[in-house]
Symmetry: C3
Subunit: 461 residues, 3 copies
């Protein structure tokens, strides 16, 4: 097929090998098993506390972790295969970036949150957090899909993970905000960071690749694999690192009902605004997930089931309308080419989630939470009032937006340098530039001929 | 492509919005967190019982719930994508109906089973039950696939969920029957309800859409995603709400072996009856699952591993033969157009499962179950003899069939009104009537041309 | 399409029915619920030990089991769908063989490991082990893909499971080697057994089917479903039967980091050796998984996170280079036609894993493991020195290779008999020989015509 002269052979191996060697060295110097994964420490713990192996936190976090893991690799990966000729890149670059980012996130998050005597201690909880941070990078990837090389994406991950960890530290540790499902830290940050990078990397001639920037029948079905997995496991995502017990249980339930209501809103709006009342797969694939994003902050709070449903319904509505009316405007007026519409799926619903979180927090009372001190420990301890918690949540949103915008501009300009084997405007959204792409299936007629010739010969080996 | 004048733009948004608003209002009035999801109640429980967060039932039900959830959304959804031009509708209408039904089922089942002081208390167990009820609706959807609008399907769900909850209440609470995996409540009910609706909605001119009522190569592979997930997670389905401990463990194992034996029977029968001994994907996709249906009642009982295998083998055999010989007769003689063959996968195996359950129950002895009082608490308490339990199981089957048949007739006639944007006989099994369908991939030749033109230009962004 | 005269109608039903009947009889005679799945025994246990249902091992093994189960049926099944015209056979024969092998493995492994008073006791742990043994058969299947009938594959499974159980017994019980993730027992054994069988079944005229022995665009995406699931759940695979507590937790983490590093190595190498620096889907689909294989033995040991990453990086490198340079040589010089390249994914990484395990074991000290006696109970008890454990690990690798080679030759010759409905050289890699294959989707133009005719008619049912 096409033989392009990108210098991927030089840049990609070099980038991967250098990054991985640095990671291995830093892990060797800095990273240790925590007391639940270290043979010696855990057995010491068992003896000292007369504890049981069944109480290793592994058993209470790992199923959630695996669900999150599926969302990161299958969910995000296949959601982006909707493009007709970019399926290899979608699922495989997603795979590459995520595999890198989770290692790098272990270090960055460990540096900010998990240092013990100069060492980063790791276990299942740090694995979940690393996957979360990775999710943020993949959201940004969604805005850039089809227009960037794997080298650019790896480089973006280096910077974005660092900024993510910084922002997360400010929100959770300094501001004492709550954001278990990452409406702010993951979705708002990832979306606006990616949108700003997309703005900086604006391609005025992108319409030369326009005919490839759309789906075909089968690619839309592959994308639905991603959608459905994201939808099903979002309750695990939002609850994966909440406190054990009622918190985790409640977060799951709130997310479950929010998503269900969001789905009905999405179908309603999609048909309402579609030509001839017809549904649009883009809406179903994406907007039906906005309900998970929108309860990312408040999911662990006493949001009530009907509150979750109302939030989900609103999120699905906003998101679908965003795809229909806002995205074209953003591309035309703001010059933001947002391939996957992450603004509609993660951006606006993320902000909605942050606001819902702030409001719900500011309404927290002892009467409702009783001794359930895990959700708002500072309020419970009497250090904050509920309204102060609400204000801190709101400030957190502002900080996140600021970090994303400033960070995105800087990283965008770094990625603009013409040294990363990026695709030309004429061959965007096209696997063949980075992949050895196989041919299509031989037609049935040819097969038929072959068969009828073969059928004369004796069979059986 | 085609621009049909269905009034979906009117009916679908209206239906979705009205239903969801009603749901939100009813949830606001009626639904509360249960003591394991409510911050205050759970922490009170912890203090009073000196209990640990690790003993929240969440940790002992949620992994099973997630497996069931995958079956409902990926399993049922993709199993139905086998049609060549109905993949969007299959997976997305499945998604829509399920998202609605699980909310409505929470209310209906809560009304019958879970009222506490005028409120419905919800937690992970109610979520599993809601998914179960949803499964029943999706089975009925299988019989109607390709011939009904999403509005009809939502309306059907409204009624079917209500009937399901009523039937379930009669069986489990009044008759004290056992049916953890739902051979009767889910499979028999869902299948015969759907078949009767299909009979009432009989389309004499459906052969005008015949050329679309079949699979293509790729659509069969998408369907296998559904099959395999259903097959793998069926042990979780049958055990999701059994008693903890040996019950859940045993149910998983019985289902595992039943399905394995069923698979061998399916391949054997498919080759035996196929033209030239060739296998038929329809059989593999469906009949191999019958073993899970057939131990839906007896799976939690002391069925023994070899007993499970024998039941599974029988189920696979019946189901495959049903697809081959019974379905054509049912369509021709009984005018039942059963798109997915739910009679073979859920109907007959469901009845088989009910019978096996009745027989196994009637053989229960103290010698076999010891103090394992969870399976048959009434026998253990001396309230019933084993044979009475068996009789009650048999009566339950009869009640289920009666409810399904009568309910199906009534609902069928309601759905027959010409106001739901249903497809005409000539455009059944066709996505384009409800969806904006993208084109097919541009041919390789065109791509090749584009590429060779582009390759002259300088690369690298 | 093609109507071949294979005698599958005779051989396949006969084989399936005979095998399943034998299985049912042997299960009836030999297999019993263990004390955690038997109602009477478990309740006796509860009373005697004042224990809780929550301590049934089900809750601490079943989530891992389900992940392994997904790897066996979705992972292996879809990984092999990369061939353009062999998707039905890949996923469905995988399904058939696995369904048989797990039953047979229950008996064979029970015979060697789990006899209690003349009975085989089964529970979730035996289910995991049965799935593991099945994995080994599926690896061998990978080498033979497209060239063997389902009858041959079932027969191979009969023998291979038996040999697997024998080898496993020698390694784990006699030699007291450690191999929780099966670098030796599963991967090395399965790969070399399959390669030897492929050698014996060498087809000199296979290039007559060469045009079908490659992928198309969509088949590569289906294969990526398999890849990603294997990759995500490999941590569960390696940890599924390790000791509870820190062991399981640590194994998961080591595997997670090994795979991440392996993925970067794979992308680097694939681009480095690809024409024009382009990536090859075959490498990404397969070599990125080698990191899981390579920590199959040492994963439960105190390998350290950076150690795991280094091993993974090495495995990805070796595996990718194997696909590029070694496989063509093996086919040409050694006459081994290894369809899926199992030598590169399971063979070499398996040996690497065995060596890493031997070295890591020989370095075990009390200072590192403390009272963590589960990993090396014999060293802890003072029965072995660490270096003796290392030597036993090395001997285990040699035994495994010997068993695989000798067993493979014998079984290969048995499978060579011309009575199993195998495909001729001209119709290898082709579903149509065993399946009723549907046509392709009608072209858009035809559809368009149909539509425009239909659009005139009144709509609405």
């Amino acid at each position: 097929m096409c033989e392009h002269g990108t210098n991927l052979r030089l840049t990609l191996p070099l980038t991967c090998v250098i990054l991985e060697v640095i990671l291995i060295i830093l892990f060797a110097v800095l990273v240790e098993y925590d007391h639940e994964t270290d043979a010696k420490l855990w057995h010491k713990h068992l003896l000292q506390h007369n504890d049981s192996n069944y109480n290793n936190d592994f058993y209470y976090r790992y199923p959630s972790f695996q669900d999150v893991h599926v969302m990161i690799f299958v969910g995000f990966g296949f959601l982006m295969t909707f493009l007709q000729r970019y399926g290899f890149s979608s699922v495989a670059f997603n795979f590459l970036i995520a595999a890198f980012a989770l290692q790098w996130a272990t270090l960055m998050q460990g540096f900010f949150h998990g240092m013990h005597g100069g060492k980063i201690h790791i276990g299942v909880e740090s694995m979940i957090n690393a996957d979360f941070c990775t999710g943020s990078v993949l959201i940004s990837f969604g805005a850039l899909l089809g227009k960037t090389s794997p080298v650019q994406l790896l480089l973006m991950a280096v910077f974005e993970v660092t900024l993510f960890a910084t922002n997360e530290y400010i929100l959770l540790s300094i501001l004492q905000a709550k954001d278990a499902g990452g409406s702010m830290t993951i979705h708002t940050f990832g979306a606006y960071f990616g949108l700003v990078v997309a703005r900086v990397l604006y391609r005025p001639q992108l319409d030369k690749s326009k005919h490839k920037n759309c789906s075909v029948y089968h690619s839309d079905l592959f994308a639905m694999i991603g959608t459905i997995y994201l939808w099903m496991f979002w309750p695990s995502f939002n609850s994966a690192i909440t406190a054990h017990g009622d918190d985790q249980h409640r977060t799951v339930m709130n997310t479950y009902y929010s998503l269900a209501a969001c789905t009905l809103a999405t179908f309603a709006m999609s048909s309402l605004v579609g030509p001839g009342g017809k549904l649009d797969m883009v809406h179903i694939q994406n907007a039906a997930l906005a309900g998970g994003v929108a309860v990312g902050t408040a999911g662990e709070m006493m949001l009530t089931p009907f509150g979750s449903m109302a939030v989900g319904f609103l999120a699905g509505t906003i998101s679908t309308l965003g795809y229909k009316f806002l995205s074209p405007v953003m591309e035309k007026k703001l010059k933001i080419q947002d391939t996957c519409g992450v603004h509609n799926l993660h951006g606006m619903p993320g902000i909605l989630g942050a606001v819902v979180g702030a409001v719900t927090a500011s309404l927290a009372t002892r009467e409702v939470y009783g001794d359930g001190s895990d959700v708002f420990p500072e309020i419970y301890a009497g250090n904050f009032s509920a309204s102060e918690q609400g204000v801190r949540q709101a400030i957190s949103l502002a900080v996140t937006l600021g970090m994303a915008l400033v960070g995105g501009v800087i990283v965008g300009f770094i990625l603009k340098l013409p040294i990363y084997s990026g695709p030309p405007d004429t061959i965007c959204f096209e696997d063949a530039i980075y992949w050895e792409v196989p041919g299509e299936m031989e037609s049935q007629e040819e097969l038929g001929t072959v068969m009828s010739e073969e059928v004369q010969k004796p069979l059986n080996s």
